[in-house]
Amino acid sequence: MATAAESLTAFEPRITAFVCNWCTYTGADLAGTSRLQMAPNVRIVRLPCTGRIDPLFVIKAFERGADGVIVSGCHPADCHYTAGNYHARRRFAVFRELLDFMGIDTRRVTFSWVSASEGGKWRDVVNETVGRVQALGPFEAYHELAGRQG
């Protein structure tokens, strides 16, 4: 992970996080309540459940300039809606392999289970993702698609 001194000069990635309302969003709230310091590169989009998170969101985030994406929700058996996370797990297991096969470096996409009590884990997920994407550099390949003509 990048140290604070390095990050002053390093590239600052833009990370979009899609998180469920009941576990990860609340876990991120707990990180705040516990004053856990973390990299300021992540912007959270709140969804009711990981089951609501569509691969289209990830595609659109990259199209709109994200260098990395986080998808996070409740641990198995913890889903507020019983099974949304299980459906999401299947969906993203496949989508991740598709991204990889089409040449999108999957190190840019973090999937995690962060419960409402895991503020510390949320901080780690954020810092680790930011550090990883920082090392990879800006996602120019994808962003350049905007400039290319068909």
Binding site: T26, G32, C49, F57, K60, G84, R91
Partner: protein
């Protein structure tokens, strides 16, 4: 053009210290569609809320964004404030610039930039918010209680005493559950039957309780306030309305040596039987697998092989042709109180379990389990309350009790603690000493867990006053040696192996949920853990609710529970239900899915993923009545708003209000460079 008001909160210094709130308000003022943008010390205070209300009126705002704390903290507060100014509350959203920004960053410039981003994102979302109406659902003031043990009885009585009707379903011929089998109860040693039987009779006689014994829940549909339950009434082969419970039939039965379930197979019963004398209802039932008439009929006999019970019945209540029947009940809430079973070594091994054959249960007749000991100690039991060995009927002078058989053993058994065993083993040693004055009880234990009012004192009494010998350690194996059982154990405190001669061994086997609990849980759409125990909605704050609204849980089907715990849970569930029934209508957040039936192709992926069964099929017909297509439709009463249907729908023909594609798209878009 939208007219959105942005209100940036300092939260005292909580936000203001790291985020330049004035700069956030200034930046947002320039954002397209923002008609008003201010910052203020405490937005949630009365003057803060007044500021919002005033701006809504004066600036004709059509949306409000409060950049402050987490929506989990104050979304309701600000939505209420908006409603107070005649703005639909669902046009108000919060940007979380405290928990997700000021509290987790130190760099003021970057934290301020992030706060601006977050606020802009929510402004873009709110541009696509639609006014929503709180959903109102009618409530059927009638409850279903599944399980007629002490938890179910308590819940049923509390709800009925509170003025609502109750349907109590019990799968056995009588209510009473495991508590009716117990001799005495800890920590007071009062007689179990003496305190339970009056409650059972109260259930039977209660004008607002409909008791359906020997019945099972077949299917459940609907949602909170509006469940429809199909109940199977199993055929007793006895007409309950004409039977007067005289017992002549059971005396006439020619099959008299069927192991009694109530006596844990230590005593016999007849094929037509009442489980125990105080049974409620006191109507016998014919056990078809063991009845001479039904056995012969199953083999194809055309002539009645037996009919002694029918001959003995003066009221003609025996009805060999009776069939299972179905009853449909409408209820507004459901309590699951199906209780437990004991782990029976060899008989029902949970998945992957092979352990404990070394304890000889089922092969050595004088190795019994805790419930069997209860029946031996019970005055109404097969030995009339005398402690006698099953093998030869002699009084055992040395009993060894083994705790934690199957519990606290992730390798061979269940990882959890069964909670009640420490207490009932102490009770057993006392009951034994009270009945066999020269008897010696030895207990092998791992730890003594006696947390509860009067519990530790109780176990101390067993040791100090009633002479129970407690050995900390486990038993490796036991076997029959002539008349005695050799018990090979290890005393971990002295560090020495131990070989004891015992006349009888009692295993405190683990508590497990009732068989079939998974199927029931699936019918109710409630979740359960890997052991089959029903999951509560929240382990601390919502202990008797499940994750399906309107379905509650009480007693040992949720986790190992003793009687006081079960009763407390049952009363808690009853009070929750009475609270629910105190409203004429339920209010629900309108975060529910809607199908665009014009676009829906009817592939029903949504139906397959919906955890609540909220997706229904609707036929679209033309004016002549020709079927055009079948489409999905969401029942807003059942939908809980997870949105899994929308992410699954290939054509995006279903939208989750409050989190529509348009709203999320706008949020993602707003995060662009």
């Amino acid at each position: 053009m939208a007219r959105i008001g942005v209100f940036v909160c300092h939260c005292g210094e909580n936000i203001g210290r790291t985020v330049d709130c004035a700069r956030v308000a200034d930046a947002l003022r320039e954002h397209p569609g923002v008609a008003h943008s201010v910052d203020y010390k405490y937005m949630c205070s009365d003057p803060g809320q007044a500021l919002i209300k005033q701006a809504i009126a004066e600036k004709r705002l059509d949306g409000v964004v409060v950049a402050a704390c987490s929506p989990h903290m104050h979304e309701k507060t600000f939505r209420r404030a908006c409603a107070g100014a005649d703005l639909n509350p669902f046009l108000c959203e919060m940007a979380n610039v405290r928990e997700h920004c000021s509290w987790i960053h130190e760099d003021r410039a970057r934290a301020t930039d992030k706060a601006i981003d977050l606020a802009r994102t929510i402004v873009e979302k709110v541009k696509h918010n639609r006014p929503l109406q709180t959903i109102r659902i009618p409530v059927t003031r009638r409850a279903l209680v599944i399980g007629g043990g002490i938890a179910g009885i308590q819940a049923a009585l509390d709800i009925a005493d509170g003025g609502a009707e109750v349907v109590l379903v019990e799968k056995e011929p009588s209510i009473g559950g495991h508590m009716s089998q117990l001799s005495e109860t800890f920590p007071t040693l009062d007689c179990s039957q003496c305190i339970l039987t009056p409650r059972m009779v109260e259930v039977y006689q209660h004008p607002r309780i409909k008791l359906m014994a020997y019945s099972e829940v077949d299917a459940v549909s609907g949602y909170i306030g509006n469940f429809t339950v199909k109940i199977r009434q199993k055929a007793r082969a006895v007409d309950a309305s004409t039977c007067n419970g005289c017992g002549a039939c059971t005396k006439a039965c020619i099959q008299r040596k069927i192991p009694s379930e109530f006596d844990e197979r230590l005593g016999p019963r007849s094929a037509i039987y009442v489980p125990f004398p105080q049974a409620v209802p006191n109507t016998p039932v014919i056990d078809r697998a063991n009845c001479a008439y039904f056995k012969a009929k199953a083999k194809g006999a055309t002539k009645a092989a037996c009919g002694k019970c029918a001959e003995a019945c003066s009221r003609g209540a025996i009805d060999f042709d009776q069939q299972d029947s179905f009853v449909t009940e409408k209820v507004g809430a459901i309590v699951v109180a199906t209780g437990f079973q004991l782990y029976r070594i060899g008989a029902d091994q949970p998945q992957g379990l092979t352990g404990y054959g070394e304890y000889g249960y089922g092969t050595v007749p004088d190795v019994i389990d805790g419930l069997q000991f209860e029946r031996l100690a019970s005055a109404s039991g097969p030995t009339g309350g005398k402690i006698l060995r099953p093998s030869d009927g002699r009084e055992p002078k040395r009993i060894v009790f083994l705790q934690c058989v199957g519990s606290r053993d992730p390798a061979k058994g269940m990882a959890y603690c069964s909670k009640i065993c420490c207490m009932y083993v102490a009770k057993h040693t006392m009951l034994y000493r009270h009945k066999v004055h020269d008897g010696q009880a030895t207990v092998f234990y791992m730890d003594i867990r006696a947390a509860g009012k009067g519990y530790d004192e109780f176990t101390r009494r067993a040791i100090e006053e009633d002479g129970a010998r407690y050995v900390r350690g486990r038993v490796a194996r036991l076997y029959r040696d002539g008349d005695v059982i050799k018990v090979h154990g290890f005393d971990t405190l002295s560090g020495e192996p131990l070989v004891l001669d015992a006349d009888m061994v009692v295993l405190a086997t683990a508590m497990r949920p009732q068989p079939g609990i998974e199927a029931l849980a699936q019918k109710l759409s409630v979740s359960y853990d890997q052991h089959g125990f029903i999951n509560e909605a929240h382990p601390k704050l919502r202990p008797v609710e499940t994750n399906t609204a309107g379905v509650f849980v009480a007693g040992a089907c949720q986790a190992p529970r003793d009687i006081p715990d079960s009763v407390a849970m049952a009363s808690a569930a009853a009070s929750k239900i009475l609270g629910l029934f105190s409203q004429a209508e339920l209010e629900r957040e309108p975060t529910v899915a809607r199908v665009d039936t014009g676009l829906c192709s009817g592939c029903f992926h949504c139906e397959r993923v919906c955890p609540y069964g909220a997706v229904e099929r609707r036929e679209i017909r033309d004016r002549k009545g020709n079927l055009l297509k079948v489409v999905a439709e969401v029942n807003p009463g059942v939908c809980q708003g997870c949105g899994t249907c929308q992410a699954t729908c290939p054509s995006k023909s279903v939208e989750l209000d409050g989190f529509t594609d348009q709203q999320i798209w706008a949020e993602i878009n707003a995060l662009a460079l």
